[in-house]
Symmetry: C2
Subunit: 119 residues, 2 copies
């Protein structure tokens, strides 16, 4: 049982859209991700997804609206709901989601990341 | 899909050791809790528990050591592990844990809270 310092974890990598696993519990994972630019439209068939922003401002786009999520805020995207994360400037955030969650959800393309590093 | 502002949630209550539910996903809950003083020794038979500190400094005591957890840090206490949260000064934190988790774990006493408010 060691504590995890979130900033220290982010200092261990510099790339975007490549989440690292920084915690595991109850079949869920805590991931640290750095974002910049636009991701793709996707949804997760079986997983709800929580985004907790620790740096910058995330814009979560849905088909009918968008929500700006800043530092100290989170948003939960329920399973089945199409969404597209957008980071005009660099965003750092934590994800809480089942270990089965694939970053691109129902879409498989060059952005898909499997076998995420644990740091 | 609305965002949740953590500070705004804490502004809605003032008491200690009485977590509020501020998010739900995948059978897990996100709770906001304000702590001051010492809790009791307990463990959770079936649930791992994550404590993410947003204000102050938490001291998590284990039978063989203690860990100080500050703002921007979290600690995961695995199921079965005895622990006692201590807050010398006021601490605010988020909990991520299964919806089945009882605050006092295997112990039932006047500190036990059931049917937590959702805010």
């Amino acid at each position: 049982m060691e504590k995890v310092n979130i900033s220290e974890k982010f200092s261990q990598f510099t790339d975007y859209w490549n989440p690292r696993i920084i915690g595991e519990l109850n079949g869920q994972q805590v991931k640290a991700a750095r974002l910049k630019g636009e991701f793709i439209w996707h949804h997760h068939e079986h997983e709800d997804e929580l985004f907790l922003v620790t740096k910058g401002k995330l814009r979560m786009e849905f088909r009918d609206k968008s929500v700006e999520v800043g530092v100290g805020e989170f948003i939960i995207v329920p399973r089945g709901v199409e969404h597209k994360p957008v980071a005009e400037e660099v965003v750092e955030l934590l994800l809480f989601e089942p270990a089965t969650t694939l970053n691109t959800g129902n879409v498989e393309n060059e952005k898909t990341k499997r076998n995420l590093d644990k740091i």
